[in-house]
Each structure stands twice: as C-alpha cells, then as structure tokens.
Subunit: 442 residues, 2 copies
Amino acid sequence: MKEKFNTLPPSGFHEFSPAGERLRHQWIDVIRTSFERFGFYPLYTPLVEREENLLAKGGNPKEVYRLQRIHEDAEDQSHSGMALRFDHTVPLALYVARHLNEIAFPLRRYAIGPVFRGERAQKGRFRQFDQCDIDVIGFEKLSFENDALMPAIIIEIFESLKIGDFVVRINNRKLLLGLFEQVGVAPENIKTVLDIVDDKEKVPEDVFVSRLGEYGLTPESIKILTDFFAHTGEANQVLVAIKDTAGNDTFREGVEEMTQVLDALEAMNVPKNRYRLDLSIARGLDYYTSTVYETRLIGHEYLGSICSGGRYDDLGYKFTGKPLPGVGISIGLTRLLPQLIEAGMVQCPSVSPARALLIGVDDAGRAAALALGQELRTQGIAVENYVEAKKIQKQFEYAEKVGIAFCLILGAQEVTDNTVQVRNMHTGESTTVPRTEVMGHL
Amino acid sequence: MKEKFNTLPPSGFHEFSPAGERLRHQWIDVIRTSFERFGFYPLYTPLVEREENLLAKGGNPKEVYRLQRIHEDAEDQSHSGMALRFDHTVPLALYVARHLNEIAFPLRRYAIGPVFRGERAQKGRFRQFDQCDIDVIGFEKLSFENDALMPAIIIEIFESLKIGDFVVRINNRKLLLGLFEQVGVAPENIKTVLDIVDDKEKVPEDVFVSRLGEYGLTPESIKILTDFFAHTGEANQVLVAIKDTAGNDTFREGVEEMTQVLDALEAMNVPKNRYRLDLSIARGLDYYTSTVYETRLIGHEYLGSICSGGRYDDLGYKFTGKPLPGVGISIGLTRLLPQLIEAGMVQCPSVSPARALLIGVDDAGRAAALALGQELRTQGIAVENYVEAKKIQKQFEYAEKVGIAFCLILGAQEVTDNTVQVRNMHTGESTTVPRTEVMGHL
C-alpha cells in the first residue's frame, strides 16, 4: 500500500517545470558564454564552508544553515562546524586567501550556482537560489575601467536573452556621501537619508522633500538635493552638470571615478540608451564603497533590479591580510526567471530536446528505427526511440505531450523501400521520404 | 591585522583548480549534450528534501546531513526536518509522485549536480560530489530496449570525452540468481556468494574456488559455476553458450531479457568491442533487479567502474503507489575527473577562456583596445582587456600565467596606422597586422 508521505519540497525550496528547467539551462549557457567572452573563468568551491568563516563575513546566524548528520556518532567529530554558503563572495574571499601567492591578479572569476539562506518562507523568497556572479579582484589597486566592463557585460547578457528593453543604472556612492557632507547631513543620519534617496522614485516629490526635512536639513540644503537628483539625460551630460555640486574630496573622487567609467563605456561604444547615471541609487552601503549598479526592465520596474552590483574596497582582509579591492555583479536567476515566465516575457522551450521520435511499427521497423536513431544522433540531431509496445496513436500523444516536432515511422514496407514516413506533429501531415533525405525534413 | 582563520574547505569537501573546473564544465557539456541527443531532459529539484523522505528510501541516518540554522528562533519552526539529498534517485521518485498524472511515460530525465554524504573523510572519498544520472521510468512496464540505449549512451559519452579504450560490461542479475538456484546456493548465502562472484577477477582462480567451497557447494556445482564464468567472446556468442545452463524461470527470464538487450545493441550498430556480457558482475543486489552495467577503462582497471547502473523494479512505490520500473546509469564525475587528471589521461584547458589579451600602451591605445575588445566579442571571440596601469612585461606575464595565447597591443602609432601588434605568447613573435585582419591571426 502507498504510505503517507508528504512528497512536496520543503518550504522555501522549489522545483522548476521540465520546460522551465530547460530555459534555465539556456539562460545559464548564455550567461556563462558572456562571462567567458570577457575573459572570466570559473572557480569551483564547495557548497559547504566552515561555519566560523561564514559568520565572520556577514553571515546571519539566523539564516545560515549548519549541517548535522541525523544520527551523530561520537567517534567521528569531523562533521561539526560546517554550514551551507549564503553567497558566492565569502567562498571567493576564502579561495583567494588560500591561493594568494599563485593567483594572477586581477583575478576575474565567475560563479554560477546555488546559495542558501534560512529566510522566512514567503512567495518569491527562496531558501535555495541560484546566483550568477562575476568579480574582478585587484591586488591592492584596481582600475575603474573594470567598473565600465560590468555594464558592458550586463548589456551583452540581457540583449542575448532577448527580454525586452532594459537600462543599467550606474552611480557612485561617493557622489552621494560627498553631497551629504556638503549639505550637512549628520553622520548618524547618513544611512537613513541614503535609504530615503534610494526610495525616491517610489514616492511623490513632496513626500520625498518632507522626509528629508525630518533630518535637520535646511530648505536650501533640500533644494540642493532635489536639484541634484533632478538631472536627467545622457550619463556624460549629467556628470558634467553635477560635477561641481560639492567641493569635498569624497565628491571629487566620485566625479573622477565616474569620469573614468563613463569614458571607458564610450570608448567601448556601449549603446548610450542602455545605461545612465542615476544619482539616486545607493544599494548596500555596508559593502559597496564606490560604483554601484542596478538594472531595470523598462515597463516592468515592479521586478526590481534584475542585475545589481558594485565596487568594494575589501574582499576579505580578515582572511587574506591584503587590501583587495573588487568590483562585481550578480544575477539572481531563481527569482528572475519564474517572474519573467509568469509575465509571458520569455518563452519556455519544449520539454523534450528531441527533434524527432522514432517509431517502429513492426519487428523490421523497430530494428530499422534503432539503427536510424543512432545515425541521426551521430549527425548531431537529438532523437528519441520510442520502444514501448503501445499503439501508434499513444506514441503520437507522447510526442505531443513532450513537444517533439516530428515522428519518423518505420515498418517492413519502409525498410524494403528504404524510406521513412515523416509526420509533422504540428500540421498532422505525413510524407514518405527516402531514408537518406530524412535529415533535410527535420 | 589578519586574523586567524582556517580558510581551507571543510574535511571531505574540495575545490577544483580553475583549469580543472573548466575541464569539469567541458565534461558536463559533453555529458549533457549526449543525454539530450538521446531525448533525455532535465528535472530540477532542490538539493534539500524532507528528512523522512530521504530516510524512507535508503538514506543512512549516519550519512544524511540535516539542516539547522545556527541560531534557531522559536517562533519559526519551518526549518526543521530538512536534509541534503544523498543521491538523485530519491528526489526523482518524489518528483514522480508529485506529478504522476501529468508525466508522459516513459519518463526520460537526466540530473547533473551535487549530492551529499556524511562519510568518514579519506582520500578520494568526498562528502559533496557530482553525479550525472539518467533514468527511464516506465508506467507499470518498460521495454528492455531501453536497457540497450544505456550502453549506447555510455559509449557515445566516453568516446566524445576521448579518455582512451574502455568497455561496458553488461550482465543480468537474474542469470546469477537463476544459476545459484540451479546449483543449490542456500537463500541465506546468496548475498555472500554474489559478493564472491563480483570479486572474482580480483583473486586467483583457486582462491575463488575455495571461497565458493565454504558455502556448501559440491565440486560439481562449483564446476558449473567456474565453467559459467569462464565464457568469453562477443556478447551474443556468450549468451548462446550459456543460455541452457539453468532451467528455472529466473534464469530463463534473464536469458530472454538479455537477448532483447543484445539484439537492440546489434540493431543500433553499437561497436561490439565496446561492450561485453560479463557474467560475473553483480552490483547492488538490494536495488537492481535485472540488467546491470559497469564501465572499465582498459589498462586502468584500478579506477573501478567509471559509469555504472542497472534496472530496478520499483522507483519508489511507497511514494507513488504505482509499480514504476526504471533503468538508469550514473557517472561519478567528482571521483573520476581528478583521477584522470592525476594519471595524465586528460588534459586541462587553459585557465582563461580568453583567446587574446588586449593591451593599450598609451591613452589612445587604451581607448582603441577597449573598442577592439568589444568588436571581437561581438564576433564571438573571447578576449580580455588588461586595464591596470602595469608595465607591458607584467601584462605579458599575466597572459602567460592564465594561458592566453595572444596579446594584441595598441598605441598611438597603431591607432594612426589602423593596425594592431599581435604577439604570439607561445613563440614570443610579434607581427603588425591591419586592424581589420586581427581575427584571422587568432
């Protein structure tokens, strides 16, 4: 008797439909190809790291999953203190620490794979999700032209994925911090004011202004801020317009770094409609120290940023003992893809990768179908042999259900004539073609 | 100050070198392409399943890793009872149970990814390792021609991977069990005698005979067994030679099933030197019920089986409530690949996927290098821009270290002349070529 089991995945863990999973593969292939085309290479580190290392670099102990064998045995203590990674950055920092003297800097690595966070389960929040990351890590220094390569890669990827119109928003946190210094935001309010700025586009202008007023800013200061954020246009023009807004070192550094980024983007002939300088984006103050990125799908802003990242001063000094600046981006595939499928913005492929289903209707046909299947595969065509004893109608139904476009039918007559019946499953039409010409009909 | 952290992966978890990881990617691409060419499609299930489901179907509680947040909080109990998968089969059975009414049978799925076992740490044993599995699952019945497709796939994969000479050994457990019945192996000794048979090739013939003698077999019975296992030659000839050794139903079924498998292999024109009927292989008695496979690298038998599998009667009746027979194979990539690299049997690619490193020697050259880099990428060539302010010799060293074959050098002179210096990093030779002809020199 069937026993009572709950066969659903645990809360916060999910499956993809077979067609969705094939789309996920296609996406990962595109993303990986783009990463490699820019000279990034993969580093493989395990999904499991030492607990103390994960906690030392931002791991939230309420979200990090520790491993424990269901039945511990006292004589083997080698399983304690291990936990699942929650991002790709801590494993990268640990890798760099292990191989500091062998690595050719700047290190250009990519990582595509699952990370785990023990979050409260809710729609669209996953406890296991794929992140696709690239990072360039410099030894002590790192040119800001790397910060220009990131939007170029994002643009190549999302153009290849054909998901519609999008724009990469670039900013530099130093512009914001320098501006705040200029207008007198108190140090203890910086984090809150940054959040207000980051949320600017979500609220009407008067709400934005009144929120700023709560943090002791004068009307003149607020005017400087609202004027600053009102700039629009091509990135270079915006930068020229705001470059003298503040006179402190932080702001000047921000202008200089952003100039290098925009000059490099221009040198690369990256299309100007694909990126802009958005002075209001802030992102993760705690980690990013300079350039930051977001990517928005035009007309689908509710999706949030579909690819984000930025520059940081310190990959992991506590592990490496060296100041290693880096810049990177991350695509959160597991959140993005189901949303795009649901919104009808991307199409899933067929379930089966096979182009044709080979059907033998009698003993001679079955043997011939096995032979033809192998021949077609040798020529690089994915085909499936249906080898169960079922009525031909059932075999057609199978082909339709898994999305196979053609059925190739063989029986004693076809074997004698050296032909194949080719049935187009879309139109339902069958034609008899010489065996040697089957390839051309698929 | 650098703090004291042990940055090594936990015991039993491992990293790949960057070049090794690129080889692993290449292998997975080959394996996946072969799987898909035979019409298999991927199912994505999470790495985490319900503990009770894993334990219900073969999970060893001393080896299954349970998840536990480092800091539990009492108000969220939704994280309990979850554990890491230890194979791809239990998740498949659970998937099938969830989707029994939607699945088009026979289900042909592949799974490539990590599984976890809390084994005692020792060389060559990993606690996280990649398995590449395919399985065909039938609804109530499943033709034995599927059992012939498995060796065909194994052969396609290992020929594509160019790892040298190999052979797929095929057997049917019913042949062994029928034979044991015939010669009077007591039911309580079957498991032990199967193990003795499975180990036959590891010991001299006289040791084999004396081991069999310990289980109450008469000299006549032992003679039948040794004669049986002495058969060699082409698979079909061996089958003809042994087909009347025993007269019971089990043995006859084994002969009949194996006949179908070998006939189908012959129909597919699978090269006969690539497979053989090896009457002594037994493999996992508990799970496999009929056809079994092993794959050996000729001259490297110490590696053990590099791809194994077999047929089973019951994918997971306790989950599905239906008799679902299946046949599948599995490649243990994580154990195999480092062994082949170490033995020099496969070559790792370069660390960097980039074909060329673009170097700008002055401002004009740097801008031109950024532009040329994008152009080459658009044409599908992987290239890297070196954008750090380093002496050119350091940039060459970088290219050598990550295995980039060419450096493309641009300065004001090249920009004026519309040329590029192409330096072959292998020969050290440089040539100046028109910018439009760079592609042809890579």
